[in-house]
């Protein structure tokens, strides 16, 4: 039974996984027993009662109350067990402990942003401490997304007009993938993130350095960091190759042709506008898929990114 779930399920890395997996296994095994029985009956009857002549006479069996009640009641009992089991497991997933560590999650097409209590924002990387309940309070800035960490067995839709939340307690330091599971358009399948589980001490020191480390960097160094941290580099290369968006290499000072037919020269203002209001001017030949970073990046950070892009020629 364990080998079955090892094969079918991802590694169990949260306290909520155990109960879910136990029910998963229970349903699988029970179903398998029934399925084998039914399949056996199909094959056995087809062979045993195969037609021998066109004049075969079959018995008249119209119904059998005892039998029919049995095969209604046994499944009924089984599904009530499954229902109760599933519901209690669900209630666990729906009720975060009071002392949970809260992180704000913002889903936008097509990236995940994580806002920590100290004001630090990471994009595409969710850092959490191990052995401590973490509650995610989530919302979307555009369409519906859904936040899913298979290793933790948690998932919740992320809506544009309200907050939803989920919680988990990670049990092992390491990395787990985050998927968006509510279809949200062009780059839906790229809307992933990584959950990085630290030991409690590592998490504390990460949190302390994460925000303040920036202060010790030169603007160009900071800009480079920010472009990876904010997932710019998943769409913009720095070596001239074209990904989802135009490359940063040689961008500054160039003339960018727009979908509208005009051209603009790429200066500080254009880059700033591209980051805060990406749909305002669309570079010719590209899809309008870049998310807005308004509210994510502050002036200082945008300046740093501009300084960094300037160096890439």
């Amino acid at each position: 039974m364990n080998s079955l779930s090892d094969f079918m399920l991802p590694p169990a890395k949260s306290t909520l996984a155990g109960q879910t997996d136990a029910l998963f296994n229970f349903i699988n095994v029970t179903s398998l027993i029934f399925l084998i029985g039914i399949t056996f009956a199909i094959i056995y009857f087809s062979w045993k009662y195969r037609r021998r002549s066109e004049n075969d006479v079959t018995p008249v069996i119209t119904h059998n109350n005892k039998l029919e009640i049995t095969w209604s009641v046994i499944p009924l009992i089984l599904v009530i067990i499954v229902f109760g089991w599933g519901f209690t497991g669900y209630m666990n997933k729906a009720t975060p402990p009071n002392d949970s560590y809260e992180i704000r999650v913002v889903g936008k097409s097509w990236l995940w942003e994580f806002h920590y209590p100290n004001g630090y924002v990471s994009v595409g990387e969710l850092h959490v401490p191990e052995d401590r309940p973490v509650k995610l309070v989530m919302s979307s800035t555009d369409v519906i997304h859904s936040f899913y960490i298979p290793d933790f067995r948690v998932k919740k839709d992320v809506l544009p007009n309200r907050y939803t939340s989920l919680w988990f307690e990670a049990t092992d330091p390491g990395e787990s993938v985050v998927f968006c599971t509510e279809y949200c358009g062009n780059a839906h399948s790229n809307m992933m993130a990584t959950t990085i589980v630290h030991t409690q001490e590592d998490f504390q020191s990460w949190l302390e350095t994460a925000g303040s480390a920036d202060e010790n960097l030169t603007p160009v160094e900071l800009g480079e960091q920010l472009t990876t941290r904010n997932a710019c580099t998943t769409c913009h290369s720095v070596d001239g190759s074209v990904l989802q968006g135009p490359s940063f290499q040689g961008l500054f000072g160039s003339e960018a042709p727009l979908e509208s037919g005009e051209t603009v020269s790429v200066d500080e203002n254009y880059i700033r506008e591209s980051i805060l209001e990406p749909q305002a001017k669309i570079h010719e030949g590209f899809q309008p898929v870049m998310p807005s970073y308004a509210g994510t990046l502050d002036d200082n950070q945008i300046n740093a990114i501009i300084e960094y892009i300037k160096t890439l020629d």
Partner: protein, 580 residues
Amino acid sequence: MATTEETPTRKIQVKRFKPEEYPEKHYLNQEKGLWAWLTTVDHKKIGLMYLMSVAFFFLVGGVLALLLRTELLTPARNFMTADVYNQVFTLHGAIMIFFFLIPSVPAALGNFVLPLQLGAKDVAFPRLNLASFYIYVIGALFTITAIFTGGIDTGWTFYTPYSSTTGGSVAMMTLGVFILGFSSILTGLNFIVTIHKLRSPGITWNKLPLNLWGLYATSLIQILATPVLAITLLLLTMERVLSIGIFDPALGGDPVLYQHFFWFYSHPAVYIMIVPGFGIVSEIISTFSKKVIFGYWAIALSSLAIAFIGFLVWGHHMFTAGQSSLANMVFSFLTFLVGIPTGIKIFNWLATMYKGSIDLKTPMVYILVFLFLFTIGGFTGIMLGALSVDVHLHDTYYVVAHFHYVMMGGMVMAFLGGLHYWWPKMFGKMYSEFWGKIAAGIIFVGFNMTFLPQFIMGSQGMPRRYYNYIDQFQAFHQFSTIGAYIMGVGFVIIAAYLLHSLLRGEKASSNPWGSRALEWQTSSPPDLHNFKHTPVIINGPYDYHKPMSEFQLGIATPHNGHGHHEEEGMDVAETEKEKA
């Protein structure tokens, strides 16, 4: 349970009418020319026109599926862009559901057999029936226009606010589906009235073929649920075109409201797709087991129970959508309840095979395939109904595999069974048994290869509607794609031998399977008016212990009084038709 003693009876002079074998004149050649087809009010021809249309859409939807599977051979881009991929999966879903699955059994097969099984000349409103067909065609034209004027990339579920903000011809498409809904409503209405009013003398409710109980339950859902879809799509169109805020939060609307509306139709729609399949299964199992059906009332009433409870479970599509825990609890519980009548049916069918005289002809092979695949579909449905597990599995490939086991493993297999079963009646031709079984075998293998790996991928976390995926899933995806190609080969074989049967097929006798059901007691193909007499029914459609002669009775008219010795007086239960 009604027994003959309680039902009012009356004496009718009856005689035996043996069906004419290999008739010269039948419904396919009594009226000729394209115009006669396009304006026909004959339910059989309308059924065939539907059959051609759904076959066409199945082909289109199937090719789209193969394109998707091909793109998924590797994690990154193969030959489509993400935008094209998104449009293709949207179309695959929308076409298969709205243009193939929903009309396939009721409108195509149902239209053909329903009046035959009642011994009626036609449905109650033949012109309305033709109108339904044309409404279907108009809906299809809208959809095709939508595809060529920008396409649509919302998924067949049209979830807001994505659908109210994305580009493309969403409004055109939803309008097409809106129009299509009327076709479905009118067909449902027609069937209900026909079953109530046009039953031949003697067809009491307990002698109604189970296929008709299935169609009856389906029709009820069609007329009650489809209007809700219509309203929802109209609201969505208003939002897109007139910017009236209903579902889009940017306009002050509520996107989850849309999901409630949508699933209030679309969950019952799942039963529109599967319940008529149950009817076919009952007919075929009894015929090829040559045995009275086990638990007639259990099967008949469980269809109605499913139709009824099916209206109350829509929320199980929204367990992770932020619905209250109480709502989740209620919807989860009701979802399990709907599983019970479904399970009962499976056991009843198995019990019918017990001690039968089982003939594994092609239709029966499809039904056995149905039993196996649909059981898997059902059990995985139980898995998804369990709240804590669904949180993990929702919107993954597990769900994709589950509904393909139900819809394709269930409904499409039942449809293929029904198609092979009634084919001789439709065209008066037999097809190759050998190739029939080969194709069924290939489809069975291909189907499982395609969808079993999807259960595993889904359990491991592979989300649905993904154009790219992480490397760990590649082996499963490739296996699945190969399975899909194999399945494609199976369908090509079917197309080939059915075409061959039409052109060169051996002639079929009136009752090649030795069935007791009424549609087999007329010639193959039937006369334009189905029967040349008014059938009189004294036995149930599955009474294999009664001699065939008792199933071929009809009202003896004074005019053709040649065989006086054959005539006898029969006590026949009164039906509404006579009382009316």
